[in-house]
Amino acid sequence: MAQGIKIMNSKEKQERLSQEKRLKKAWLLPKGWRYWSEVNNSEVGLWYTVTSLCFFFFAGILALLMRIQLAFPENNFLSADSYNQIFTMHGTVMMFLFAIPIFEAFSILLLPQMLGARDLPFPRLSAYGFWCFLIGGIFVCGSLFFGAAPKGGWFMYPPLTTSYQPGVGADIWLLGLTFIEVASIAAAVELIVGILKCRPPGMRINLIPIYAWYILIVAIMILFAFPPLIAGDVLLEMERAFNWPFFDTTRGGDPLLWQHLFWIFGHPEVYIIFLPSVALLATIIPTFSRLPLIGYSWVVLSAVGVGFLSFGLWVHHMFTTGLPGITLAIFSVASQAVAIPTGVQLFCFIATLVAGKFIHSVPMLFSLGGIITFVVGGLTGVMVAVVPFNFQAHDSFFIVGHLHYVLIGGSLFPILAGIYYYAPIVMGKKLSDIKGKWCFWIIFIGFNITFFPMHISGLLGMPRRVFTYPKEMGVSHLNLISTIGAFILASGFLILIWDLISSKLKKQHSERNPWKAGTLEWTMEIPDRMWGVRSIPKIKSRYPLWDQERFVEDVDQGKFYLPDAAEEMRETLITSPIDAVPQQCLRVPGPTFITHWAAFFTGGFFIFATYHWWTLAITSGVFALFSILYWLWTGSAWIPEKKVKDVGLNQTLPIYVSGPQAVGWWAMCITMLADFTAFISLIFGYFFYWTVREDFSDMTGSGPGIFWPVLSAILFILAYLGTRLSKNLNRKNHRKSFYSTLVISTLFSIFGITAIFMGPIIFNMDPTTHVYPAIVWVLVGWTGLHGFVGIIMQFYCLARRWAGKMTAEYDADITNVTLYFVFLALTSIVTSAVIAGFPELI
């Protein structure tokens, strides 16, 4: 008999069964078509994964079409126009609809398990993000079937996309992707709060799974990388739709600004794609080495280092644009420096492999294949970081070879390893070892046959993004080899699909923890019981299943926290960021269709705007706003029936928390950091034009003056102070003063918006004439729009108090809105200082 298993008496057994009954009721999956209203992380994560993989295969088929066209010189399988749409879509779909969403999918699916949590803190936000992703993805991909797909490359450079591509394709790219980017930021918020606030007690910061460290860093990177692209999208769309000349040199614009904004996003983006896959390697390798990861703190520092350094590399995509030597030098140096922390991580993995036992398995095969492939790509990366070499290799097929080695090696192989590794948890079944090995070797060999020759054809002079090439170039045989390799590669994926389907259909479930891993997600029962972890454990080690005695038994017997759902509600624990001290018992919402409506109307806003159907777009936007308000009203900041709850192990915790300890406050703070970054990107644009264009300074005397911008800033500061005062009055339960102060603050907001618009209006600033009035209008419009959102928030708080859904004690709404107004006041101060004060007052 296994040692140490206590035999429970029948009373304990009865209690345990009742607990499971209540947990099951709280976490019950809706049946029939209502299944799609579910919001818990297992379902949303699964849908996200499947959808991402579908987009992956779609983009893969596009790649095969490209390879057929390029197999022979002067081929006419695809016209130039079709080819341009296809390569643009291949890149766009792979980067935006597969690589980013798949990591979000894996994290949403697995992170709560790894952290012993029942769910992420904002399940409806994840669901909303997923439905936005699905709608946006179908919209963007669907354009291909109408011959209306974007065709300017995945990076859509103006002036090609402003002056030479008047069709709707570029707008589909800009608007279709913007709301996918918003979904990514939503996922980032969820993951940051989840990792820092939803850990099991005892899981101090030095004990968190290495995967969680990586995802934390990546989520923070998303906050600062995506907004510059959103800012750039706004500028590009304003130029295309309304003729505001941000990238038109004849009217003071500069196409290089797009390149800067795009690549400030684009380079961190590839690390956002790479790091979560490395996180999978860092999880899988210790399991199959039967050894804790060697160099945990080195790996953490390297991930933080890569996260930061990756923001300093972007100009290496622009080496050939005529920038001065000093600029090229510092970016070249940073691009090479990033290899240091990257290498440190790989050395730690190799050390773990060498020091431990080596257990052969399919996940390990894919992991090693990934490391080898990534290292080759990394070496060619250091080559292209060297400026003189870059001048030769830029925009040639050498780069295509490089990028596929790093992306497929560094990102895709680990994802495939992750699929094989986590299939028992996600599907309840192990995938086939034999099919897995065939799959790996065919993909590995096919991949190298496809992409290695590209380095050579590139150096022989074959440019990228060309639909054909002349026979005389001498690259015909290399291209044919690449095409054959591509089909071999594709057949490897067919084996994967076959394996996934046949394993799903087989009857026998996997044993629990089939890989004998040490981390928390493997406490999960197979097949899965809907509540996730049976009780939220107390952690004492990085590998609790290896180190803590009777750990799984104790979890199963409900001997830890929240073994029960006494009120039949969905609950998880909130803990402190560094030491994971329990702070709150958080109740999370359950199934709903409101997220679908909100995503549908948000999608409608962007999709109708693409076609310039403004009335429909605005109507859809208004409905989206109402959906979101309804969702907040019914699904957030619930006043509980009691103040505190016993969560087990003699611990009682509050159910409702507001202020800096609350997850909602964190979400507001993190979202506003991303929003503020987008704003700063627009400010960067203002200063960029001032630096590079002589005529910009000549125009700055033409408006908007000093009075109106300064007045606006003062009014917004007053609006913030008033909101803060009303929060304090609410806390002291001075109802009437609360109402009057908040109403006055709302008036300040309204006047602030009016004032900021008065400047450009009074000076008759026409944004179509020159980039100076255009950028002023954008900054003014941004501030005004945020002011408008602030007013809605203020009204919401008034209504919540009126309806009794917010009280002196339960005041999360006004607390979070006050935080919003901090950022709004800051935005208006910066806008006013820049448009009124620079450069005249210096």
Binding site: W298, G305, G312, I578
Partner: protein, 123 residues
């Protein structure tokens, strides 16, 4: 000994890489604006002065962080790999990570300064 240390915040972990980022941005912006607006006689002196000043400030921050991290790492007797659930292990881990990231940031700062030192011209 552990209790005498100031409480740790996760923000401490990012001060050094932030110093690198501000150093990088500082040099980039300084060179961009100087070369576009103030470069009359193509003299390397202002670039060298600006670069040295910014680099010195950044390095001082990073060196301070490195020592602070090392000091925290030295406190206590818990041993590598600091994977136990007690404050001492957590402190030593965080101190170590802070010191190591400072080292990396210092290298990155010096790399950048080195490149500027060699080119020191607006062309």
């Amino acid at each position: 000994m552990v209790n005498n240390l100031p409480p740790f915040s996760l923000w401490h972990l990012i001060i050094s890489p932030l110093a690198w980022a501000l150093h990088f941005l500082g040099i980039y912006i300084f060179v961009a604006i100087y070369c576009a607006k103030f470069n009359k006689d193509n003299s390397p002196v202002p670039i060298l002065i600006g670069m040295s000043l910014i680099t010195l400030i950044a390095l001082l921050i990073v060196i301070r962080e490195c020592f602070a991290g090392y000091k925290r790492h030295q406190a206590g007797v818990s041993s590598h790999p600091f994977n136990l659930a007690n404050p001492e292990d957590r402190n030593r881990f965080l101190g170590r990570a802070r010191a190591l990231i400072s080292g990396l940031s210092a290298i990155a700062i010096l790399y950048t300064a080195y490149a500027v030192f060699f080119i020191r011209s607006c062309q």
